[in-house]
């Protein structure tokens, strides 16, 4: 049986890879060691000083800033319907675009506390499954 470890990430280098034995999955952003700017996704160079950014795991928890539900013609094998939104991450304060849990659409609202999950979700455009990160409500959040 195909396990999560066998499925490639939708884009390499944007989230920590399974197995997640001890830790939660995290998005991989960038930080400038000189001027401490945070980025997601990570650009090659810092726009403040043109220094090279370093990879940094970002907080796995955040709050929904906005969301929507796409009800027609889902691309990339995503479920119909599926949801996307912007999440304000703890610590870095970055506002990141992300998929939201398609199984939790009824619960979604602005201000909801969420945490990151990585699962096989959708495909690569050619039918091969891909790991995608998405945020899901924190129980009791």
């Amino acid at each position: 049986m195909e396990t999560m470890i066998d499925i490639p990430p939708v884009i390499p280098g944007i989230f920590t890879l399974p197995p997640y034995d001890q830790t939660q999955p995290k998005l991989l952003g960038g930080v400038c060691p000189a001027c401490h700017r945070y980025y997601f996704p990570r650009p090659r160079y810092c726009k403040g000083c043109l220094g090279q950014t370093e990879e940094i795991p970002l907080a796995s928890k955040g709050v929904i800033y906005s969301f929507t539900v796409i009800r027609r013609k889902p691309p990339l094998g995503l479920p119909e319907p599926y949801s996307v939104g912007y999440v304000d991450l703890e610590e870095s304060g970055l506002r990141v675009f992300s998929l939201l849990d398609p199984a939790a659409i009824a619960q979604l609202r602005i201000g909801l506390k969420v945490h990151l999950v990585v699962e096989s979700l959708g495909h690569d455009g050619h039918g091969s499954p891909r790991l995608r990160p998405y945020f899901t409500p924190i129980t009791g959040g």
Partner: protein, 381 residues
């Protein structure tokens, strides 16, 4: 003193043209613009051709040369332009700057697109973009803004729908628009939900189409009675700062501000506006960026009828993208054509009386919660 003028316009009806190629449609639009200006192909010093999706959908490149070849335009510089929804207005921006710099006296701008193709699906900002791979379709970017604007400012679904109703009412009066049947707020809200809260009738339809304009130097324009002055042509790219406030695009405000400064006018001086109403929420956000109303009050502005034909500042009297459809490369040019037509007082039943100053606004692409491209063209007579 304006640096350039528009002296010719040409546009074919936007809609379904299954039997016509991009080149065929583009060539007709150019022909119409040449005839309108009363100039010969040999008088053209340079050409810009815009298409957003042609390379991707049909595998053709350097299509502009093929379009202009149909008219016998050769030897002169030809540049092909892609800048998402602003491809056409970006081509205009380049033509304007070429004339303003004194590098050419007569420059052709054409845009053409063919989007009625099978299996197009919801369009995005690039297949390999991270956001696209995470499920961002163009409509969702606007829906996320609508959700936020409704939450912060109390903008209602009815106000969103009123944008579609108004623009369709305008589109009824434009024989070049694709959709000309009137619609009601109830029909807009009852149409299928595409991306919450945007229903189908709040999303601009696809279209095949082409449009062309001719930009020339003031010395030539001075001799022509139907010339329209270009007071400003601005192109801005996003700041991509994080976090972005999704109740507006800072880039939108920045582009409008630069255009007003360049033209030496303010929003109160505008008589007519064409803006990028790709979705109903877009028009409301653009009202605010253009300074037609205070921030957060765009929904109320359309509700009061101030942006309808006969209102204080009519917006998208052509019917907008919502009625014309959105053939990407042609859209930015079509917006300029509407303003030129109005300033020439040749708009027939949809003429805005006494229109002297008009603004064409276009926006395209999505990156890092910002827009990739925003153009503002200010025209006057």
């Amino acid at each position: 003193m304006p640096s350039a003028a528009v002296i010719g316009i040409g546009m074919i009806p936007f809609g379904k043209h299954p039997d016509r190629s991009i080149v065929d449609m583009g060539a007709e639009a150019v022909f119409l613009a040449l005839k309108d200006a009363g100039i010969r192909p040999a008088q053209v010093d340079a050409c810009f051709f815009a298409s957003g999706f042609a390379a991707r959908l049909f595998g053709d490149i350097t299509i502009g040369q093929n379009v202009f070849w149909e008219l016998g335009i050769n030897k002169v510089p030809v540049v092909n332009v892609e800048n998402a929804c602003t491809s056409g207005s970006t081509a205009f921006y380049l033509a304007y700057n070429m004339v303003a710099a004194g590098q050419a006296d007569m420059v052709l701008v054409a845009g053409a697109e063919k989007l009625y193709v099978p299996e197009l699906g919801l369009i995005n900002s690039g297949e390999n973009e991270l956001d696209t791979q995470l499920g961002l379709v163009a409509s969702a970017g606007f829906a996320l803004r609508a959700t936020r604007h409704m939450t912060e400012f109390g903008t209602t679904p009815q106000q969103l729908a009123q944008v579609a109703v108004k623009n369709r009412r305008h589109g009824q009066l434009n024989r070049l628009a694709q959709f000309r049947e009137p619609i009601t707020v109830e029909e807009v809200l009852a149409s299928p939900m595409i991306v919450e809260p945007l229903t189908r009738l709040q999303c601009c339809p696809n279209a095949d189409g082409a449009a062309a304009v001719i930009v020339c130097s003031p010395s030539i324009a001075r001799k022509l009675s139907r010339a329209v002055n270009v007071e400003a042509a601005i192109l801005c790219t996003g700041s991509y700062e994080n976090p972005q406030d999704l109740t507006h695009w800072e880039t939108d405000y920045r582009a409008c501000g630069l255009a007003y400064d360049k033209a030496g006018i303010g929003p109160e001086d505008l008589d007519i506006v064409e803006c990028h109403d790709a979705f109903t929420i877009s028009e409301i956000l653009h009202y605010e960026a253009m300074g037609l109303c205070p921030k957060g009050e765009g929904g109320k502005l359309v509700e009061r009828g101030e942006t309808a034909l006969g209102g204080r500042i009519p917006v998208n009297v052509s019917g907008g993208l919502l009625s014309r459809g959105h053939p990407l490369g042609a859209t930015g040019v079509a917006q300029i054509i509407e303003i030129v037509t109005q300033l020439r007082t040749e708009a027939g039943p949809r003429q805005v009386k006494g229109a002297k100053v008009g603004l064409a606004h276009c926006m395209g692409g999505d990156k890092a919660a910002d827009t990739k491209s925003c153009t503002i063209i200010v025209l006057s007579v």
